[in-house]
Amino acid sequence: MTATLPTLHALPWLQHLMLAPVLLPLLCGAALAPLTRGRHRLKFALGYASILAQLAAALVLGAMADGGYWEDGIGVYLAANWAAPFGIALVADRLAALMLVLTALLALAALHFAMLRWERIGVHFHTLFQFLLMGLNGAFLTHDLFNLFVFFEVMLAASYGLVLHGYNAQRLRASMQYIALNLAAAMLFLIGTALLYAATGTLNMADLAWRIAAMAGAGDSADLSLVHAGAAILVLAFLIKSAMWPLGFWLPTTYAAASPPVAAMLVLMTKVGVVVILRLWLLLFPAGAAGGFAYDALLWGGMATIVFGAAGMLSTGSAGRMAGYAATVSSGTLLAVVGYGQASLVTAGLFYLIGSTLAVAALLLLLELVDRIRTPGAALLAVTMEAWVVEDKPDEPVGQGVPAALAFLAVSFAACALMIAGLPPLSGFVAKFGMFHALLNPPAPGAAIAAPGWTLMALVFGSGLVAIVAMMRFGVRTFWTSAKLAPPRLHRSEVLPVLFLLGLSALMTVQAGPLFGYLGRASDGIHRPGDYIARVLREPAVAAPPPATASAAGLAEAP
């Protein structure tokens, strides 16, 4: 990877590449907004091209972060050329690049799945989809609390529209609760931000971390408790997004109500909260140091979420809700991983994050196809019901039927089940094995593993068992015990995204070594806040251009 970089150095415009993941979807979404009816192919092609460009930008950013293009693997972009902490800083490091790549890959699959029918049951699907991507990418790149709020709101506003897309009574009901809850969460976010600003006088994350460390060093307990109060309120907003028990009751209902491609993107939105917590907490309150704060709450809250999600998976009869609870379990596992406060565990946790996002998203897409064999004709009925508000009804997928559709569904479902449960040979097993390995090998050699470590291991193991029971029950009922199975009509554009997500997961298993290496460096980077603070705060603003040349001066003076 290093070998390719000298050529990259020669390109000064690469400095501005960090803006591309935000600007591309913004421009593309805006360009698509006037097209309300028809033109499906054009809209799809534009949206698809935008996502491919984002994927390319994300991959280059990852190569730059990991290949030594930037010092410490952290690239800083000072918007409007104001030096931190005064301006708005965008920061790309290995974690951000990883999340950008994951976003683009998932968006590719979801958009492809939506091509045939789902984008046509309402207007502005593509515009909202691009704005959702803009919010997600921005939230991963920005390093300023208030801009984080803005990007969160962009992401949420787009997601409200997408959850409502092709609306029926069920979706309206689900989104009314979803919107009310997120509006309340946004207020918590603002209160937390305001308290942090009152205590420290800054909103730039690097400056904030530096000041909090100085406060902890000086023993300034009055201001420090204000910081803790602010951070605790702030994190509530992210915990609602990542559905920690008891804040996650909205999740299964919303996932089950949303259309499948949207639900697949929602899976990623659940992970945004976790990623932000991971970044913010390690930066502001480094684990193990004197300033550590509320790690226990994250650990135990995450473990309670695992229990809640696992119980939900067993208790529910609806497939969509089961996938929602599976997302809750993975979110709880990640929160517990963050709360455990051990760098090697975070590495495995990041691997688990990618794997579980791909698996649950694939499952949500697949369940819609499986639904067609459970109730033949239901797909057609559902679409007509949903399409009553729009004039152009989506076409029933005709022709190009996929051979052996039933076998494809059963095998893919089994693959999803293996990944979610964490059984070999797919990526879920590698992730859980990595977590167990990290838990059993604490960094201090010979140290005993504390009770929380054993509890977490038992819960991760137990939740996998519950997941396999729940998914096998569904699989047996669907594929074995049905009296007569009509082979469903699947279209190539619906099968490909599922295969793509499952293939990515298989690729993760095969390439687990290099991927773990990258994730290890990413985890290492976010565990060294000192480097990050130094990089952001010392990034010089670009010098003013040289005095105007004679011709330019002449032009300026001309009347």
């Binding site: 506003a157 009574a169 009314m176 600003y197």
Partner: protein, 114 residues
């Protein structure tokens, strides 16, 4: 001034919480709006309260930081107001849609069974 502002924020926010927990969607909407007003007041107060200080520097003179109010919370409040308006308007549309489709304004989309 401090106690008045604190009381106002607290009362408005408390009223908002009470309304948000009500079963009718219009009450929930009003509650969310009251809460967002209280949050805006709160952000404003977090920039420290001072009387008679402008946030902008007068033109043509060297600015004196001691004579100026903190402009950042005011910028934050402005952004928060815009975003709050937009999302609340969206909620209103969803509320009207749900009322039309389900025939009830209960937040669960159906009347509770007695």
């Amino acid at each position: 001034m401090n106690i008045v502002l604190a009381l106002a924020t607290g009362i408005v926010f408390g009223a908002g919480i009470w309304l948000v927990l009500r079963p009718r969607s219009f009450q929930v909407l009003c509650g969310l709006m009251l809460m967002s007003y209280a949050v805006n007041l709160f952000i404003f107060a977090m920039g420290r309260l001072r009387v008679d200080r402008a946030p902008l520097t007068p033109a043509g003179s060297a600015p004196d930081p001691a004579a100026l109010a903190d402009p950042l919370p005011q910028a934050l409040v402005l952004t928060a107001i815009v975003i709050g308006f937009a999302t609340t308007a969206l909620y209103l549309v969803v509320m009207i849609g749900a009322r039309g489709l389900t025939g009830t304004d209960h937040v669960d989309g159906e009347e509770p069974q007695p």
